[in-house]
């Protein structure tokens, strides 16, 4: 093979492989779960750990909300639960700005915006709303990055608190799903719940 042919073949082959690799790396990355949750802790004013990118892709249009209203679709906010859950891998210390009104709990009322954090899905900036000494809302007003990635994140499973699951009382469900295979167990618990719902 002539040198020119060899060079062209090598260049083209490596180029194509690199493109394939790159395309593949993106799909691999997108298929990984972020594995990060937010943990809002009491007693540390204006600090919220960011990195939870489980918020919906449509949140790019969010405007920052003030006060106790929570119009955000980001949805990764824990409202005043104060508990820490899951594993928090990346937390960004953030500074705050907002109306400073000291309360007994040590949290100041107002809206606090964290520093912009670069994540692999784009830039995330967390805003915490404190009202009456409690964190009432956590929002991600800024989430940039291409939409395709955000959409992919939207389908991922991420750690959440029990309080974040769509709550249900047995009285308002129509049916019950559980890992129950025996009729005895089923009759004992689930059918009872089902019947109670429609009693």
């Amino acid at each position: 093979m002539r040198a020119r042919a060899a060079a062209a073949a090598a260049l083209a082959s490596f180029g194509i492989l690199a493109i394939g690799w790159q395309a593949g790396a993106q799909s691999i990355e997108a298929s990984k779960v972020t594995g990060v949750t937010n943990s809002a802790t009491n007693g540390n004013a204006g600090t919220a750990s960011s990195g939870s990118t489980t918020s919906s892709g449509s949140s790019a249009s969010n405007t920052s909300a003030a006060g106790a209203s929570s119009s955000g679709t980001g949805g990764s906010g824990t409202t005043g639960s104060g508990g820490t859950s899951g594993s928090s891998t990346s937390s960004s210390g953030s500074t705050s700005s907002g109306s400073q009104a000291s309360t007994s709990s040590g949290l100041k009322n107002g809206s606090f915006t964290g520093t912009a954090e670069e994540t692999r899905y784009g830039i995330v900036q967390v805003q915490v709303v404190v009202s009456g000494g409690k964190i009432t809302d956590v929002q991600t007003p800024q989430l940039t990055g291409d939409d395709m990635r955000s959409d992919m994140i939207n389908s991922e499973a991420a750690p959440i608190l029990r309080s974040e699951v769509l709550q249900a009382q047995s009285a308002n469900v129509d049916t019950v799903s559980g890992a129950t295979y025996t009729s005895e167990g089923y009759v004992a618990s689930l059918q009872a719940a089902l019947n109670a719902a429609h009693a």
């Binding site: 093979m1 002539r2 073949a9 083209a12 082959s13 490596f14 492989l17 394939g20 690799w21 298929s31």
Partner: protein, 477 residues
């Protein structure tokens, strides 16, 4: 004995370059450069297609599969299958007699590459099977054999794929030189046709079991289009082209005349033969439509440039097939496809022309000489034979040399034991450059038995000629 048409024992002194040859030289060089560019491009394309088949998998996130042994084994299997299939498709393209490929690297080279790819392709396909049986076996906690049985039983297209593997093995094994020599050409040919069955039977499982090619994946389209391109090329150039050419020219044998020791010239007539002008030296694939002959096909070069109403091939009694040709009757219809090969005017790159032939390989040189572009004095014809009787078409060639101003040497005698093995014994110590003063500014066409031709080419290369100046046609079928 050596006779030279223009000079005696020693080659002539170099002729002075003529002013008129400059334009021709420029044009030929450009033509050569363009051909090399095409060749490099095709080479790049072939490699790139192999890389692309791996890239298909990488783009699907395949790189992530290499972090544990089971999925890595599976991935290696998948990649082996992808490259193996790519090689098979490239091989089919090489054998499809596509004019672009034929006119760039020549039929011989294309088939040589085709042959070289056979074993790697088979090994990759076998690796595909073995690695996947091990990989899936690890996943399913089965040994590879049990996994194979399970796949055969359970997956709808898998048993067909296993059959495909067996067919591929059969095709490659019968093509090994050692095996191929033992059986008649026809046997090998029929087995080789099974390649198509092997490719077809391999198809279903690629699309039904391969996740990479499942519906909705863009990779599926790449693969389908690749297959369709190959299919189209085969239909167009292996099936349609011969039929069209046969009906266009409607060849029939006019007479068969002796052309010396054990050789005959078959003259044919037909319609629109002037369209084939310039095809001298290149070969056609012939099928004589007579009982017991029609199912053999023969690659023969033209031994005279086509003229209106007249074609000629010169054939020596080499095998069973050509023996029967000696007795072909006038009036026999002939199916034909071609012309193929680079052994013709299109391959010229230099103003000088050197034609070196031995035995029956002399005959295509005669056709080239007839229409080649050269200034008087810039062409040299060297004919090599062990006896004067096998100096086929000698008189015709001598007459052409006289008319066109070419130098001709007849080198007759036993092979040299020392020095250049392509020369007769009594010329020991000489080389091609001694016969051709303007050798470096010439194209060298060599046609004859492989070993002999290789010796000539080696000689020419050692004289400093580059690959683009060397043209050869194997003539040992």
């Amino acid at each position: 004995m050596t006779t030279a048409f223009r000079s005696a024992e020693r080659p002539a002194p170099p002729p002075r370059p003529r002013p008129g040859s400059n334009a021709l030289a420029r044009e030929l060089r450009q033509r050569g450069r363009r051909r090399l560019l095409r060749e490099d491009f095709l080479t790049m394309l072939a490699w790139a297609s192999g890389a692309a088949s791996v890239a298909l998998y990488l783009a699907d996130g395949g790189a992530a599969q290499f972090n544990n042994l089971t999925t890595a084994t599976t991935s290696i299997g998948i990649i082996a299958g992808l490259i193996g299939t790519d090689l098979v498709l490239v091989m089919l393209l090489l054998a499809a007699r596509i004019p672009l490929i034929d006119g760039t690297v020549g039929h011989d080279r294309a088939m040589e590459i085709h042959g070289k790819l056979g074993k790697p392709a088979l090994y990759l396909i076998l690796a595909h099977m073995v690695f996947l049986l091990i990989g899936y076996g690890l996943t399913d906690r089965l040994n590879p054999f049990a996994e194979g049985v399970s796949m055969w039983n359970s997956l709808p297209d898998m048993w067909i794929a296993f059959i495909s593997t067996v067919l591929f093995i059969l095709v490659v094994v019968t093509s090994l030189v050692a095996v191929r020599r033992r059986y008649p050409y026809e046997f090998w040919y029929v087995v080789h046709l099974l390649t198509y069955a092997a490719v077809l039977t391999a198809l279903p499982h690629q699309f039904s079991e391969g996740q990479l090619f499942s519906p909705g994946q863009w990779q599926r389209w790449y693969w389908i289009v690749f297959y369709l391109v190959v299919l189209a090329a085969l239909l167009r150039y292996r099936i349609w082209a011969p039929i069209a050419l046969t009906f266009r020219h409607q060849l029939s044998v006019t007479r068969v005349v002796s052309a010396g020791d054990g050789a005959v010239s078959i003259e044919l007539t037909g319609l629109r033969l002037e369209e084939l002008t310039g095809a001298g030296g290149r070969f056609f694939i012939w099928r004589f439509l007579a009982p017991r002959l029609w199912w053999h096909h023969h690659p023969f070069s033209l031994s005279a440039d086509p003229a209106a109403g007249r074609l000629r091939i010169t054939v020596r009694n080499l095998g069973k097939g050509s023996a029967a040709l000696m007795a072909v009757k006038p009036g026999t219809k002939v199916a034909v496809s071609g012309p193929y090969g680079l052994f013709g005017h299109a391959a010229r790159t230099r103003p000088g022309l050197v034609l070196v032939g031995s035995g029956i390989g002399i005959t295509p040189l005669r056709a080239i000489l007839e229409r080649a572009e050269f200034e008087p004095g810039e062409a040299t014809v060297i004919l090599r034979a062990s006896t004067p009787e096998t100096l086929y078409l000698r008189d015709e060639i001598a007459e052409l040399c006289r008319q066109r101003g070419a130098t001709m040497y007849e080198l007759i005698g036993q092979r040299a034991r020392h020095g250049n093995p392509w020369l007769p014994r009594h010329q020991t110590g000489l080389a091609l450059s001694n016969y051709v003063p303007n050798l470096k500014a010439s194209d060298v066409y060599v046609c004859g038995p492989k070993k002999w031709a290789d010796a000539v080419l080696k000689d020419a290369k050692s004289a400093g000629l580059s690959d683009e100046q060397l043209h050869h046609e194997r003539f040992d079928w």
